[in-house]
């Protein structure tokens, strides 16, 4: 396949009269790590939600592998792993059951080994039989990340994955993103940590409030 994996063209989003995003354009190539940066309220999470299909953009298009991005298609859902913050978990499923459910949903009839490996890697093994409400914020964030790693993927969409992680956790995250890149997975992440951006990202898309027209589009 030639061309970008993800192509965001002139994307805009407004809530009523309030424009949150306007004219956002960038691409993500296969095995490329792109960081979305910008101050709080600049629309990073909204942009990721629009890309993941959780919100409908007001203007613009999102293309995936050259065609319109349509998360209704199973082929698209199978390729894109999304972690948009913690907290959206089933109260009645344990950590292990969540991850096994996700792996089975992606066609893995024997998810035990990969779930065990990911639990070990994210230091959640000792919490495996706990319910989400018994986890800390950081552990819930790790559970969201773990859900992305127990399933096949070609594009990883992460919303501030470094939040609630300690220094060692951020170090691990940088290494994990590099490993994903080596495995051919593209990563699009909103990030507030310049160290992580410098260590992991190939390109940076900076969102601001009052950028001049000439500076609006561009991965730098």
């Amino acid at each position: 396949m030639t061309g970008p994996l993800l192509d965001v063209r002139d994307l805009g989003k407004a809530y009523g009269d309030v424009a949150v995003l306007d004219g956002v354009t960038f691409t993500v190539e296969p095995a490329e790590v792109v960081a979305l940066t910008g101050p709080n309220g600049s629309g990073k999470s909204t942009l990721l939600k629009c890309i993941a299909g959780w919100e409908e953009p007001s203007t613009g298009v999102v293309l995936f592998e050259g065609g319109p991005y349509a998360e209704q298609r199973p082929r698209v859902r199978a390729a894109i792993a999304v972690a948009l913050g913690g907290g959206a978990d089933f109260p009645g499923l344990t950590v292990r059951e969540h991850l096994e459910f996700m792996a089975r949903g992606h066609g893995n009839a024997d998810p035990g080994p990969i779930v065990a490996a990911v639990l070990d890697e994210l230091e959640l093994a000792h919490m495996a039989e706990r319910f989400p409400f018994a986890l800390s914020q950081g552990q819930r964030r790790r559970l969201g990340l773990a859900a992305c790693f127990v399933r096949p993927r070609r594009l990883l969409v992460l919303d501030e994955p470094e939040q609630n992680l300690d220094r060692a956790g951020r170090q691990w995250l940088a290494e994990r993103i590099a490993a994903e890149q080596r495995a051919g997975v593209a990563v699009l992440m909103a990030c507030h940590d310049p160290t992580l951006v410098a260590a992991a990202a190939d390109a940076e898309v900076e969102l601001g409030f009052d950028l001049p027209d000439d500076d609006r589009d561009g991965a730098t």
């Binding site: 299909g53 998360e71 907290g87």
Partner: protein
């Protein structure tokens, strides 16, 4: 009783889902949810049963007795008017279903279930059937009431109810199909106009003399309606798999807006959903307009007058609600409960029309410091802002006086308008609802508070209206 749940209590749940069987995923989640509710005592099946038995038995018995009693010599509704009202109710049900989704899922379902490549039409079958069943049930009850008013009894009444259930199921299925097709706006416009047109049609048809319908007609109509509803429901269930995630937005979209509308005592978020963009009025920024407007009651009155004149949407709503009172009158004219029903309709319409002009009062209630900018104390600001709703209420009372004075008498007509103004003023003067919800905590308190601020006040006013009529 809530029992602690920890690692020691976890037992292996039901059989895990099979990747080759999409239905097993939804089944697994249902069973795990049941396990969770059983373990921590969160189930409300017992409470639901008690409520249904306690509050459902008497209405069911009374309804059945009413339907088996001999029909009155003159029925309040003719059968064509009842049919038109049934279709109007179905159109209104489509409107409400579209505003509410109708197929919605929570954020955890979006993150963990709908993000997988498992067939969504299977995963969403239950929410879809639930939405269709909801409209079918509501319209079925409406059909039962209309059948009674049209003088149908016994088997005929049950057949008419069956027809209403089919019409309701069809309405729900149309709403789901519209959600999948992204035809939100056009469906809202169509359903809104269909509701109004059918209601007007029913009011026009009711006074006309009609012959009883031919015997086999009802049976044929039921069979056809049932067939159409089944086809639509099947198509809707299949189409549910094509609904984009962004349109299943429980917690962040239309459903949240409806909840916000209820809790804030304002219909503004609803109008964002229901009104076409070109008809939306410009946002009213009271605070912004204060600069240069002077201070004191006169300045506030001037601002209120300017905003009221520009508030085209509230004006249209006021006129529509007056018209509804006039349209309801011929439909209720021959009913034994006609005067009481007309008083209730007028009461609710008056509240709706006055509430449309209560934006400024709401703003003052929500922002206590706003009154300071006018040099008024906080109650003074609210009272000064009340003159526009008062004028709206007086105008409503005058506009409906010719209609109400006959069956109710002038004093009772004034009583209805005064109560409506009091209720609208009370609701507008409430500060925005602040939820005290905490996980596992005070949700029931919030529900009670919401009820007391919203439907509870309306009900209390309704009781007073009835008391005034009896007195």
């Amino acid at each position: 009783m809530t029992r602690p749940v920890g690692p020691a209590r976890v037992t292996r749940g039901p059989r895990p889902p099979d990747p080759a069987d999409p239905a097993s995923f939804a089944r697994y989640l249902r069973r795990m949810g049941r396990r969770w509710r059983t373990a921590n005592g969160a189930g409300i099946r017992y409470e639901t049963t008690i409520v249904l038995l306690w509050y459902g038995t008497v209405p069911a018995i009374v309804g059945w007795q009413a339907l088996t009693a001999p029909p009155p010599p003159i029925s309040p509704l003719t059968w064509p008017a009842a049919a038109a009202l049934l279709l109007a109710a179905a159109a209104a049900a489509v409107l409400m279903a579209v505003a509410a989704g109708p197929v919605n899922v929570g954020p955890e379902y979006r993150s963990w279930v709908l993000s997988t490549p498992v067939d969504r039409s299977v995963l969403l079958r239950r929410p879809c059937v639930r939405a269709i069943g909801m409209t079918a049930g509501v319209i079925g009850l409406v059909g039962l009431a209309l059948a009674g008013l049209a003088g149908l009894r016994g088997a005929e009444a049950l057949a008419a109810t069956g027809l209403a259930v089919a019409v309701g199921a069809g309405a729900g299925a149309v709403a789901v199909l519209g959600q999948a097709a992204g035809a939100h706006r056009s469906m809202v416009v169509l359903a809104r106009w269909a509701t109004v047109a059918l209601f007007v049609g029913a009011a026009a048809l009711n006074p006309l003399p009609v012959h009883p319908p031919p015997g086999p007609l009802l049976g044929v109509v039921i069979v056809v309606a049932g067939g159409v509803a089944a086809v639509l429901a099947r198509a809707a269930i299949r189409a549910a798999g094509h609904i984009p995630l962004a349109r299943m937005t429980a917690g962040s979209g239309p459903v949240a807006s409806v909840t916000e509308a209820v809790s804030d005592q304002t219909l503004a978020p609803l109008s964002e959903i229901l009104v076409r963009p070109e008809l939306r009025r410009q946002p009213i920024r009271v605070g912004h307009r204060l600069s240069g407007s002077g201070t004191g009651t006169a300045a506030l009155a001037a601002v209120g007058r300017r905003l009221a004149v520009r508030n085209l949407q509230a004006g249209l709503r006021w006129a529509l609600l007056v018209a509804i009172c006039y349209l309801a009158a011929p439909l209720l004219a021959t009913a034994a409960f006609g005067p009481a029903g007309l008083a209730l309709v007028a009461y609710l319409c008056a509240i709706g029309s006055v509430s449309g002009y209560s934006d400024t009062v709401r703003r003052f209630a929500g922002e206590p410091t706003l009154a300071d900018r006018y040099g008024l104390d906080r109650w003074g600001g609210r009272l000064a802002a009340m003159w526009v709703p008062v004028v709206a209420a007086v105008a409503f009372a005058l506009a409906t006086m010719p209609l109400l004075a006959g069956p109710l008498g002038p004093l009772r007509a004034i009583w209805v308008a005064s109560l409506a103004l009091l209720v609208a003023a009370y609701r507008a003067n409430q500060r925005p609802f602040a939820a005290s919800f905490v996980v596992g905590g005070a949700y029931s308190q919030d529900v009670v508070r919401r009820f007391l601020r919203g439907p509870g006040v309306l009900l209390a006013g309704g009781v007073l209206v009835m008391a005034g009529l009896l007195g």
